[in-house]
């Protein structure tokens, strides 16, 4: 029987990933357009990695991660605009708030399984969108909130685009570390057992609800931090930007699914493909007819579901390469 993989064994590929991505930033250091795409790619890679903790390792198809994202964004915006604090101080509270929300809603939500869980979380996300429009004192209502441009390290606002690329790369690495530590921990193995067969997991003495709840809270916390960074990156947010299902909540899931759901690096690969593809399609096709870039993306999704069921990572694994090369990427 092979030894159980531990986080220590994940360190070399993780370090290699960090070096490669940093080299990518270095390569494009003079190109603001590409740096923007890279920053967005890293941010969404991190967010999809966070979603993958619950959705991939735990098999719970959450569509309400936009809520945690928005919470982080609004908390940071309020701390910066209202209290005049540095956004750096808002990261930990954002994670805490998102985790607390996840715990609160998991009481009704985890009574439901499969598609019912997906529908309940989707409805939750839509209602938070309604509430975000209504409670103007917290969210600025439909007009949104604007963070003034005051560059400075302590304000998390930078004149050069490259600083954002580094910042988002840092977030991505944080998400990857959390995800891989969890994957190789007792909780991670519990979680996969619950995903594969809930009844058998429960019979083996695993506290199913507690396992799902912990995963949900961790996944939400990382997503909340992503929301905080997002608001400092774009500096103007309104409820649709933060809570539209197809732009946020579902997007995290789709990126993870295209990359390879339930694998450590799948969400990163998904983001490396989808985000630049989207940017390219918007630039190339968006001018001809509105929405034509999204037509292509929708078709890509349907085709990916049909022909790349295990995502890019799965497709890579099925290549005729030595198993010790392909296995390392995706073994769970």
């Amino acid at each position: 029987m092979p030894r159980i993989r531990t986080f220590r064994q994940e360190l070399p590929p993780l370090a290699l990933t960090a070096v490669l991505l940093a080299a990518l930033v270095g390569l494009y250091s003079g190109d603001n357009f590409t740096l923007n795409i890279l920053a967005t790619t890293f941010l969404f890679a991190g967010l999809a990695t966070a979603w993958n903790i619950l959705g991939g390792f735990g098999g719970q198809f959450s569509l309400c991660h936009g809520v945690f994202f928005a919470e982080g964004a609004y908390l940071t915006a309020n701390m910066v605009l209202g209290a005049g604090l540095s956004p750096w101080w808002s990261l930990a509270p954002a994670a805490g708030l998102a985790a607390a929300t996840a715990v609160l809603i998991s009481w009704p939500a985890f009574r439901l399984r499969g598609p019912f869980f997906a529908i309940a979380t989707m409805t939750f996300s839509e209602v938070v969108l309604v509430l975000a429009n209504y409670f103007e004192s917290i969210t600025g209502g439909p007009q949104g909130m604007r963070v003034p441009f005051r560059p400075g390290w302590q304000n998390m606002i930078f004149t050069g685009r490259i600083a954002y690329a580094w910042l988002m790369l840092g977030f991505l690495l944080l998400a990857l570390i959390v995800s891989l530590v969890l994957l190789r921990s007792r909780l991670g193995y519990y979680l996969q057992a619950v995903r594969d067969n809930e009844a058998a997991a429960e019979a083996s003495g695993i506290d199913v609800l507690r396992t799902k709840l912990m995963a949900f809270a961790i996944s939400a916390a990382v997503t909340g931090v992503g929301g905080s960074l997002f608001v400092m990156y774009v500096r103007i947010v309104d409820p649709p930007t933060l809570l539209t299902l197809s732009d946020v909540g579902v997007r995290f899931a789709l990126i993870a699914l295209i990359g390879g759901v339930g694998t450590g690096y799948g969400p990163l690969f998904g983001a490396l493909l989808v985000v630049p593809l989207e940017a390219w399609l918007r630039a190339e096709l968006g001018a001809y007819a509105p929405g034509s870039n999204l037509v292509v993306l929708g078709a890509v999704l349907v085709l990916a579901a049909l022909f790349f069921k295990r995502g890019l990572v799965g497709a890579f694994q099925s290549l005729p390469l030595p198993a010790r090369w392909t296995g390392r990427l995706a073994r769970t």
């Binding site: 399984r113 598609p115 209504y134 929708g298 579901a305």
Partner: protein, 296 residues
């Protein structure tokens, strides 16, 4: 008194619209166990098809049902046969595929129309009748009558015809149904086709009421999902009555609370329902638990 009556009536009529969209969705959800995110887009396609029929062929929106229903029926069969059937035991991939379909259809219509808003004005569409002190819009009454007829016909068909019994058998236990000689794949195609056809019919009935836009499906689909959970998985009476509950809640909350909070009110009911009775009002006990179980 007049106000309350008016609010209740508008809730009833709104509920009729929600039931209309939810019945097809619940049929697909209950039998095939697919969360069809693109159902709202099927309604939207039905609306645009009705609009085209009205403008090119000068067919009345209500007569266009005879054209739109078969059109979407065939479309639904194709989607089921070539996309969803291939993902039968992979519920996540099905969600993924129907969401891709949603984006594809919505933006295809956006790209073709350029986002222009269309509407149909027939003599009927702006007509209203007086019920006591309240004016009631005729197209909404027609929609209410239509959904009532559809619910009755569908329920009768599911109970009394051989095909209907096969659909119910497949919904209850796919493997046992196959052992009894039922062609499961054919039943799925039929069910999805009828579900999509009903969405098309809903679209035709909604065309005289709403201005067309590529995103209009989103206005109904969430309410329809709430109706499905409230009414119960796969239950026709559940979808019918659940629609009115959601519509009434929305109308009452919109008038007495705040119009912008009406959706939050039905969500509260939805959450209470999930906690108290997750199977929905008319659902089979345990249906919410086995939703994703691989049956083969």
């Amino acid at each position: 008194m007049g106000t309350l009556l008016s609010v209740l009536l508008s809730g009833l009529l709104l509920g009729g619209l929600y039931s209309l969209v939810a019945i097809g969705l619940n049929l697909i959800f209950g039998v095939i166990r697919v969360v069809n995110f693109a159902q709202g887009e099927f309604v939207m396609l039905g609306m645009y098809a009705t609009f085209v029929a009205y403008n090119l062929l000068h067919i009345d929106p209500y007569l266009a049902i005879l054209l739109v229903f078969p059109l979407l029926f065939v479309f639904g069969i194709l989607v089921q046969r070539f996309i969803l059937q291939r993902l039968q035991n992979e519920p996540m991939m099905q969600v993924f595929a129907t969401f891709g379909l949603l984006m594809l259809l919505q933006n295809l219509v956006l790209a073709v129309t350029g986002g222009a808003a269309y509407s149909i004005r027939t003599p009927l569409s702006s007509m209203a009748i007086a019920v006591g002190p309240v004016q009631v819009s005729v197209p909404r009454v027609i929609a209410l009558a239509a959904v009532t007829a559809v619910a009755l016909i569908l329920q009768w068909g599911l109970r009394n015809t051989m095909t209907g019994k096969a659909v119910r058998a497949v919904a209850q236990d796919r493997r046992a149904a196959r052992l009894m000689g039922i062609d499961v794949e054919r039943t799925y195609m039929l069910t999805f086709g009828v579900g999509a056809g009903l969405a098309g019919m809903a679209g035709a009935l909604l065309t005289p009421i709403f201005t067309l836009s590529p995103q209009i499906g989103g206005n109904f689909i969430l309410a329809a999902f709430a109706v499905v959970v409230l009414g119960g998985l796969g239950s026709v009476p559940g979808a019918y009555i659940g629609g009115f509950l959601i519509g009434m809640t929305e109308a009452l909350a919109g008038y007495y609370l705040d119009p912008s909070l009406k959706q939050a009110a039905w969500f509260a009911i939805f959450i209470i329902m999930l906690i108290v009775r997750p199977t929905g009002l008319f659902g089979l006990a345990g249906a919410e638990e086995v939703g994703l179980r691989v049956q083969e």
